[in-house]
């Protein structure tokens, strides 16, 4: 078991290295650079700045220097926020995005499993129809529409009741987390509901369930130990990549609710071609993702006895 984990970790490091390399060269291949601004710079000043940031060296040299730095944990200084270390940016803003993301995933997973199981049980009866209708609504509306509508509805509600039920934006307390994470998790919740339903339906008609019922196993046990547990498996597999999608898709939610998260920084960095921030966040997210996948795989191995970890 531990040998397996160790092997995965080593593979993970190699994967992250690939990610860093691919991103580095892709980034430099895109036209433009972090130094150009609205006011044009004279040749001399530009040359000075390039030397200062090490952009004058040949590309491969820059790459090697960069690798050396990150192996020591130094991601450099942001180009656009000139006196902030990328490490600081990640350290301060990732917990915010992570919190938002974790809550969104938890909402999505819990909701998805519960609603999915419910619709499978009451297949083709009214709970099924109602929930599936909401699911379709949930997946056919883009995230920025949901976010804008959500915020607007909250404002109207606050005005109507004269009381500030929930904050409409900003960050800092438990109350600030509720609306943004629900908005963020909505799409994924709809998806997981569907997945869970499909998975449950297959299992409900499976032979071993019939056997268990015939044997007289109490319904609660059948439900939890056999149906739920097996049906959850596809949901768990999907959770890994969903986490990545949510943490980067959180960008829209972060802007609309004025949340100081890393997703917002990252997209702005791509637009500004802030090399160090792009590299830093990509490597960081990459490592994080790889780690999450490893964790999910190990959990999967625990839950499903049929899968033997090699």
């Amino acid at each position: 078991m531990w040998k397996y984990a160790l092997k995965r970790v080593i593979q993970g490091v190699i994967t992250v290295w690939f990610i860093a390399t691919a991103t580095f060269f892709a980034m430099h291949a895109v036209p433009g650079d972090p130094l150009s601004g609205d006011k044009a710079l004279t040749e001399r000043i530009r040359a000075n700045l390039e030397i200062k940031y090490g952009l004058d060296k040949p590309l491969f040299t820059q790459y090697v220097i960069y690798l050396k730095n990150i192996s020591q944990g130094d991601f450099g200084i942001s180009f656009t926020q000139e006196n902030r270390q990328v490490n600081d940016i990640i350290r301060e803003h990732f917990p915010v995005s992570a919190t938002l993301g974790i809550l969104a995933i938890v909402f999505a997973a819990v909701g998805g499993v519960l609603w999915g199981a419910l619709t499978a049980l009451y297949r083709n009866r009214w709970p099924d129809t109602v929930i599936m209708f909401l699911v379709i609504l949930g997946i056919s509306v883009p995230s920025f529409v949901v976010a804008a509508l959500g915020q607007l509805s909250l404002v109207k509600l606050n005005n109507l009741t004269g009381v500030s039920i929930l904050p409409v934006g900003g960050w800092g307390t438990v109350w600030h987390m509720i609306l943004p994470s629900m908005v963020l998790g909505l799409g994924t919740m709809a998806y997981l509901t569907r997945l869970m339903r499909s998975s449950m339906l297959e299992i409900i008609s499976a032979d071993y369930i019939r056997t268990a019922k015939a044997k007289g196993v109490p319904p609660t046990q059948i439900f939890t130990r056999h149906q739920l547990r097996n049906a959850i498996l596809p949901v768990i597999t999907v959770l890994g990549p969903s986490i990545a999608a949510i943490t980067t898709g959180g960008f829209v939610v972060e802007i609309i609710f004025a949340i100081p998260g890393l997703g917002r920084y990252f997209v702005q960095a791509v637009q500004q071609l802030d090399y160090t921030v792009i590299m830093g966040t990509t490597v960081f997210y990459g490592a994080f993702l790889v780690f999450m996948v490893i964790v999910v795989d190990i959990i999967y191995g625990y839950i499903d006895p049929r899968v033997r970890l090699e």
């Binding site: 895109v30 920025f144 499909s198 990549p241």
Partner: protein, 460 residues
Amino acid sequence: MAEIPMAPALIDAAAFTRIEQTEGIHGISRPSLSYWQDAWIRLKANRRALWSLYLVAGLMVFTLLGPLFWQVDPAQQDVEQISQPPGADRNITLVPEYEPWYGSPDAPGEGLRFVADPSTQHVRIQWDPMPGAAGYRVYRNIFPIGPEQALGLPLQETDLSQTYFEDRLDLQPRDYFYTVVALDPRNKELDQLQTIQGAVTRVLSPSEARARGLIAEHAQAEIGSSYTLALHPLGTDYLGRDMLARLMHGARVSLFIGFFAPFLYVIFGVAYGSTAGFLGGATDQFLMRFADFVVALPFLLFMILLKVVFAIGPGESGILPMLLAMVLLLWPGTARLVRGQILQIREEAYISASRLLGAKTTYLVMRHMIPNTMGVILVTITFAVPSAIFTEAFLSFIGMGVAPPTPSWGSMCNEGIKTMLTTPHELIFPALLISLTVLAFNLLGDGLRDALDARMRNRE
């Protein structure tokens, strides 16, 4: 055959009668159906799936044949009909050409008054000098001025000598309330104001009417005559372009990306994932690590890069790089899912049985495993479709979508959100179409899953 011992008390011999031997009772009750034939029958029987099939077909017709019937140019702008909801009034009256106006000091009347009838071409107001004023400010409101003294939009400041104002800003055929406030030398408002109310009528000048084909090129233009502007059954957008035409052309972009991208990357993901799951071992590890690597790549960055690599010139719609980017970057999700399922199925009894009977790997994968993962695969496809449409909308949101003036449902939604409170039709129609597409694919996916799921095959 030996006699079967029976407990005589339990079984009453009289309850049984011997039946005759008959021929031909072991015939085939119905023809043996292949997997696909069986699936098709079950699909047809599913009413909801059938409806969704019709819906998808309907959307295809809308996209491909629609423009043949509704031949309106989606890029044609009409600034007189900006953001008109369907069914809006389209009557116009002809008025003389616009000439700049610099006040009519001899206009009759006293106080704040209209000089000429207010129209969408101009609203001209004139007022008498107010005592103590060093200047004036003109406001316009669409609501009557209540006790809160909310005067409305400040349009212009004028100096002492200018006691007239011409308004041409976004005039709509409705009632407007104009207020003129006196200002002191430091531009602070004094307590003196006057308000009037007027109704604006929709008008056109002869040159504008000719440009729209309402009057023939060399025909005489009669001032005061009425005409009707072009019909837009679903209204117009923020530049006066016909919504119906834009939806039809937008469908091409959205459905193309929404259909082909998921189709392609799911197929690839299935092939990849089933290979990894089936082969297992080091190959599986390597393949999955590569999939992890692809997932972690920053999507946006590679989108930009692919656009550059394909040297997308200005004005080209940029659909192909977007498609390519999505296919290249989005397959790992499916691959992981399928691999997980394969890992489960691999251990099932019938797989070992097949293998013992000598089945080859490809046969096992194609004939046994993939049909059994159909359920999950189909759900993935039906979710990939809206997800692809939304990705395209998101890219428009940050400015990397299709180039204007090519419309797409996603970018239309984007634009529609901004005005959703005032002109909801700009958001509702594209959003509705996206929802219908999503609904159709979902129901179809449901139906397909029920039809194709091998495990449900036995249930008649």
